[in-house]
């Protein structure tokens, strides 16, 4: 396919191109070779060792699949489970889609540039797999679709490309978890995600990262939202990681399109997180909100946000709050860029500690100092996310509950 060759050529030119942000990683240290794995049926999934099941569960994956519309599980480089239970919702491995369907070329590398940096190039040059999730026009997912990218093989570099399409008037909810198996602490995950939210469609994407101490993580994602569409992007990372850098970008290209980002990050010692969100508001009536809650528990967190108002009558707000609990660094970088008259943009950033007055107040209601602190931290991390289905809210709550143990 000429298309693919052109992409390869462009990628080859970028293999040594450092990213704009984040530590520059020498990818030669990781192992790229494919790991063959058999597909798993439901029984096999249910009979995984409890410790592995626990890792999947913490990344938001329901192994019983009972309250899920579809499932995609990739272990290392192979797809082990892929399918859907609901008509109108499709889940297809991307390599299969590239072989079988012409329509995929309308989406593949259309939002993320293949030569953006060495990581995008690496994924194209050695694509392992990834998911294509599509809601057909008017389809509404009853339950969320779950996707999991799991690394079992030590020192693997997992190269993934995902495409998510919510066709006109559809409603699609996705929870995607990334995790490593208990014995694997070292490896790299490079993941491309391209989101297409068409006219009046609604897409919620909740990503829970559950990495390990020596993981290098470089997701690259861009979304495009058409008229009246809604893109809800939630990101939760409570676990250590060596270095993680992501800056998902959304283009609101149709009137009244909306993007809302919520991220919750707890930074462990020895870990570096450079996370942000960027939204271009390109049409009248578009709205964007970016909310970030970060806690440094000894780690280094850079929390970025960038709102770009390109036309009048747009509204955007950025809220970035950080708590430094047990050392570490939180560096909040909120940016507002209004390019014409008539934009309405604001931000609120704060980095601090838990107010002694709040702890005392709760203590006077009978809580010990530790209980009071935990209650305030949990409250700080619990953001109301309107429009999120109850199963996903429960997954986020569970991830946050888990973090109590790491934070305290």
């Amino acid at each position: 396919m000429p298309n693919r060759e052109q992409l390869r050529e462009r990628a080859l030119k970028a293999v040594n191109k450092p990213a704009a942000l984040g530590a520059d990683i020498d990818l030669a240290q990781f192992d790229l070779s494919p790991v063959e794995r058999r597909p798993m049926d439901k029984e096999e999934l249910l009979s995984l060792p409890p410790i592995e099941k626990q890792r999947l569960m913490m990344a938001g994956i329901d192994v019983t699949e009972s309250e899920r519309s579809g499932t995609y599980i990739q272990m290392d480089t192979s797809v082990v489970r892929c399918g859907t239970k609901q008509e109108g919702i499709e889940v297809i491995p991307i390599r299969q889609a590239l072989e079988k369907y012409d329509w995929i070329w309308d989406y593949y590398w259309k939002l993320v540039a293949v030569d953006a940096d060495k990581y995008t190039a690496a994924v194209e040059l050695n694509l392992h797999d990834g998911y294509v999730i599509r809601a057909l026009p008017g389809a509404k997912s009853v339950y969320p679709v779950q996707a999991c990218l799991y690394i079992d093989k030590p020192n693997l570099q997992q190269n993934v490309h995902n495409i998510i399409i919510a066709e006109e008037d559809s409603e699609l909810h996705i929870i995607t978890g990334c995790s490593t198996s208990p014995h694997t602490t070292r490896g790299a995950h490079l993941g491309i995600s391209e989101f297409f939210v068409k006219k009046n469609a609604k897409l919620s994407f909740t990503m829970i990262h559950n990495w390990a101490e020596d993981m290098v993580v470089r997701p690259r994602s861009v979304a495009r939202v058409e008229e009246g569409g809604l893109f809800l992007n939630n990101y939760i990372c409570m676990k250590p990681v060596r270095t993680l850098q992501l800056y998902p970008t959304t283009h609101l290209v149709g009137e009244n399109a909306v993007a809302r980002y919520y991220s919750i990050i707890v930074g462990s010692p020895g870990s570096e997180y450079d996370v942000g969100g960027r939204v271009h508001l390109k049409e009248v009536g578009t709205r964007a909100e970016i909310v970030a809650r970060t806690i440094s528990n000894g780690g280094k967190i850079i929390a970025r946000g960038h709102l770009i108002g390109e036309v009048p009558d747009i509204k955007a707000h950025l809220e970035c709050k950080g708590l430094i609990l047990n050392g570490g660094i939180i560096h909040a970088i909120p940016e507002l860029e209004g390019r014409v008259d008539g934009v309405e943009m604001s931000h609120e950033a704060a980095v601090g500690k838990i107010a002694a007055e709040e702890i005392a107040y709760l203590m006077s209601r009978g809580l010990s100092e530790d209980e009071a602190t935990a209650t305030i931290v949990r409250g700080f991390l619990s953001v109301d996310i309107p429009g999120l289905p109850p199963q996903l809210k429960a997954e986020i709550d569970r991830a946050v509950e888990q973090s109590d143990k790491t934070v305290m």
Binding site: S364, G366, F380
Partner: protein
């Protein structure tokens, strides 16, 4: 019983309270008057155990335990609770969660309790976030109702409360302090009164609270010094006619 003996308190290096003696017996409620800045809130915060209020002399005894240096939560466990004038906001913690926290192991019907202070519509809101002055008072009362302490400290519970809710607030405090009880077939009024155990210390400026709560004693705090009288209504009258300074002078003279 709460017993305070010759208490001296400093805040940020400044002496705020001097030679405070105070005794509240089981079943008694005292009213604390005093001009702005006289140290009323400081006295309550010191009893509750806020560490920035540094006790430099004297002691506080509650239920026979010397609590002068106990942490706040241990005082709460012993049965001291407070309705704050300006409590902090706690983002992400819902009011219904807070009521459960106050109730600890006890089973409480949160919505039922809330209805009693007309607060059922606020249970899903973050604690104190965006509450008006009067709403804060009702939220504080709701929390105290769930906590059910034996000594209740009220910091200006009626200030900022609208006319519609003032009776509600007054009656709730009276009930919390067991001042509202009526004789039953089995027990005479005297018996009911004798069996009261709840103790109260209420700061008021306006004295409105006296219309609902039958208080046992009035106290005036002036410039960090306490003087007392047996009759809170008398004190209120004296203050409103002659002002705090005269009132305190007359109290000192009669002591």
């Amino acid at each position: 019983m709460l017993l305070i003996e010759d208490l001296e308190v400093e805040l940020a290096g400044k002496k705020l309270l001097k030679h405070i003696d105070l005794e509240i017996k089981p079943g008694e409620t005292h009213i604390l008057f005093g001009p702005n800045g006289s140290g009323k809130t400081s006295l309550l915060m010191t009893i509750m155990g806020y560490p920035q209020y540094k006790v430099t002399g004297g002691k506080i005894i509650f239920k026979g335990v010397d609590i002068t240096h106990l942490p706040i939560n241990e005082r709460a466990e012993l049965g001291i609770g407070m309705a704050y004038q300006r409590p902090p906001t706690i983002h992400g913690v819902k009011t219904h969660q807070m009521v459960k926290i106050c109730a600890r192991d006890r089973d409480v019907e949160v919505t039922e309790l809330a209805r009693r202070v007309n607060f059922q519509d606020f249970l899903d809101r973050d604690v104190n976030v965006g509450f008006s002055g009067g709403e804060i008072k009702r939220s504080e009362l709701l929390q105290l109702m769930a906590q059910d302490p034996d000594l209740m400290l009220f910091d200006e519970p009626e200030s900022g409360v609208d006319i519609e809710n003032i009776a509600l607030v007054g009656q709730t405090i009276a009930r919390l302090l067991q001042k509202e009880c009526t004789p039953t077939d089995i027990k005479s009024m005297l018996q009911v009164k004798r069996e009261r155990t709840k103790m109260g210390l209420i700061i008021t400026h306006t004295g409105h609270i006296l219309e609902y709560v039958n208080a046992d004693k009035g106290q005036v705090l002036f410039d960090g010094v306490l003087s007392c009288s047996d009759n809170p209504r008398g004190i209120l009258e004296c203050i409103s006619q002659m002002g705090y300074e005269e009132c305190v002078r007359c109290q000192i003279a009669s002591n």
